[in-house]
């Protein structure tokens, strides 16, 4: 249908070219900017409709839009278009992770041992639960079970942050959900880099390559993160705090880091997250601490989650695969709830469990990590990482809803009881 429509348009255009010499050749593909604007509008419309109709979080709407327009349903976003959009999605994801990294407050961890215990428990239990499920129940080889665990063990800081921003949530559960998401991401990135070596070893590469690649990915991300954050602080230090100029400097340095990471084949998400963590920890003079990325990063988030929605492999879904993904998610959920229960502290158990529900999202970061591995080993990873992809697909739908449910139940969102015509 699409092709036949296109061929009519192409023929008509070619006919016109004879009469109108200035016309360019019929475009081989849609211009990236035009495509971006279409996706932006489509994502926005779907998200706003779902929000108005059922009160769903907007991020869920973006994913649904991507799924509907992607290869799984209408096919308007195909593999070529996805590849064309990848740099934009990389940048959007990187910027969101930069913000997530900036919220990893290591000083708070040191001040609150309960928080540290909760974070370490979440990391350890989530990894073990997912690894155990993938290895013992699904039967994946150890390296791929570890890869699946690395990809899916952490919460999705980008989703969590967007849900928090949208619901204007404030409070201890909100802070803990953000903190646990950031700590979990940091741990999953470390495990991911280590797993790259295991995967190399699994496919029979030399030990040199098995060690060199994780070092390249991890060390490269660290180096770029340090340099970009130092440069950002030095340049921003010449400008007034919280000024628009500082915002531009922060965004520009982040995009510089994205570009360099892409050029050197270093994972962008890891680089930007580390840049955020280093910025948060090393900015003692608070040069950039009060400067946030502009609301425009919400626009990039739309593109990101439409792309993520389109990239989800719904077409390949089978009932056994869906059951396995559900099993993995249940094991992961149990691990996170148990970790929060074990964290102890002054928060009552009910609130701790709400934090456990709030950190359930699993989305863009997992998909992008799976992409990174998939790029390296296209033949093997396709089937081996299906489990992680499907788990991410399910949680892309359920995660934002769970996160907002937890923040609502904790009484930390901005929804307030209307008091119209009350006491006088």
């Amino acid at each position: 249908m699409n092709e036949s429509l296109l061929s009519y348009a192409r023929e008509a255009w070619t006919a016109l070219q004879g009469a109108l010499y200035f016309l360019p050749p019929f475009p081989a593909r849609v211009d990236t900017l035009a495509l971006l604007s279409l996706l932006l509008v489509a994502g926005l419309l779907v998200a706003e409709w779902l929000r108005a109709r059922w009160g769903w979080p907007r991020v869920l709407g973006y994913v649904v839009a991507g799924t509907v327009f992607g290869p799984s349903l209408f096919g308007w976003i195909n593999a070529d278009i996805l590849a064309q959009l990848r740099p934009i999605a990389d940048a959007a994801h990187g910027l969101l992770l930069l913000e997530a990294g900036r919220r990893l407050d290591l000083r708070w961890l040191l001040n609150n041992r309960d928080l540290l215990r909760g974070g370490v428990s979440d990391i350890a239990l989530s990894f073990l639960a997912v690894y155990g499920f993938a290895f013992f129940v699904v039967g994946l080889p150890p390296a791929w079970a570890a890869a699946t665990a690395a990809v899916t063990m952490a919460s999705a800081p980008a989703v969590v942050m967007l849900v928090i921003e949208e619901s204007r949530a404030q409070g201890q559960i909100t802070e803990r959900v953000m903190m646990y998401s950031a700590i979990g991401s940091a741990a999953s990135f470390v495990v991911f880099v280590a797993v790259l070596g295991f995967v190399h070893a699994q496919i029979g590469a030399t030990w040199g390559a098995a060690l060199a690649h994780p070092l390249w990915a991890g060390g490269g991300a660290c180096l770029i993160g340090v340099l970009a954050s130092r440069l950002a602080i030095v340049v921003a230090g010449q400008l007034p705090k919280r000024s628009l100029a500082q915002v531009f400097v922060l965004a520009a340095m982040a995009l510089l880091a994205v570009g360099v990471a892409r050029m050197l084949g270093v994972p962008v998400f890891l680089t930007l997250f580390l840049m955020g963590v280093i910025l948060s920890f090393s900015d003692r003079a608070k040069v950039l601490s009060y400067t946030s990325l502009p609301d425009g990063h919400g626009m990039l988030a739309i593109i990101l989650f439409v792309v993520v929605g389109a990239a989800l492999p719904w077409r390949d879904a089978t009932w056994p695969m869906a059951a396995q993904a559900l099993g993995l998610l249940l094991a992961r959920a149990a691990a996170k709830l148990l970790a929060m229960t074990l964290s102890g502290g002054a928060l009552p158990i009910g609130k701790r469990l709400l934090a456990g529900i709030g950190i359930q999202p699993l989305s863009a970061t997992a998909v992008f990590m799976a992409f990174e591995i998939g790029k390296l080993y296209p033949e093997i990873s396709h089937s081996a990482l299906h489990l992680a992809f499907f788990a991410a697909a399910i949680m892309d739908i359920a995660g934002p809803v769970l996160c907002r449910f937890a923040l609502n139940r904790a009484g930390e969102t901005a929804v307030e009881k209307e008091t119209q015509g009350g006491a006088r």
Binding site: N111, D114, Q170, G171, Q172, E412
Partner: protein, 378 residues
Amino acid sequence: MNDTLEYHQSEPLTLGVELELQLLTTRDYDLTRGATDLLRAVRHDGSHGDVKLEITESMIEINTLPRESADAIAADLDAMRGLLVEQCARNNIAVCGGGAHPFHSWPDRRISPGERYEMTYARYGYLAKQFTVFGQHIHVGCATADDAVWLTQALGPYVPYFIALSAASPYIDGVDTLFHSARLNAVSAFPLSGQCPELADWNGFLEYFGFLRDCGIAASIKDLYWDIRPKPEYGTVEIRVCDTPLDVVQAAALAALAQALSRRLLRERPAFDAGKALQVARYNKFQACRYGFDAQISSPRKRAQEGLRTTLKDLLDTLDDDARALGCRHWLDVLRTSLFTGLSGADWLRARQAVHKNLNDVVRDSAERFSAMRPPAN
């Protein structure tokens, strides 16, 4: 008669202090929601006072036990301050003094849970959220209800001094208001704010309050947002005009001033024209809020204006004997230092802003000042 209006006697000149404090996110030092979680987490034996919710979730109140001396008040305040700062650190929250947050957005404030707060929000709408301002309330014990009503009115002319000495709210909505204490403008919006009317004695007060209640204007003493009001359930007079100072030292010093001044007034029982005092009260209050120590105060007795700086110095001098008798003279020296150096809380905040050119850093400095402060040795 309403039960809450039964006057419970207390030891004369005993003191109690309530401090409303700001809860801040350490990310950018804006106000944050955190009071209910903090309250749940705070563990203490009550030997130095209590911690309470306030109208919005970004506020928390510490209060002392009733004490005979300003030294004991300072010890209570310091202990409660330490307790709160430690608990806040565990929740990644900073805490500071000051009468108003310099740049918070009032629509973002959340009303605290509780029937009284919900009723206040229902009745006053957005005013309740704009009431996210931070004051120090000083209670002075009175032996009898008649003494309390008399002292409530006798302290009225001294309101400008308390305002000038505590002023610490020069910024609102990110803007320098040119006021030293902009906090009281938020209080003025409430219909029952202002001054206690001219009353002969406790029966006069009961008659006046009964009238307000019958007209449906006030149901409880708490509905009267007067600058100074009798507090029959505690057996005290409550001075409510002070901004929360930037540290507990100044808070204890203000309590000492209230104690010494009340002692002198109750001892000498000077004659004063309450009606005339009321006619200039609002103007004098404005002057102190706007100009701090540089205010020009109208004297109804002299039918002229006097510089607040001069009359405050004279007042502190005349209180020497009473302060010595109460053992709080060293606390009045703290106020003298503030007066002679001309450095009020508002001036300090403006000085930090001149250095940083950024209100986030000003609030950060303010939080560090509040956290680090210890009362001076006697």
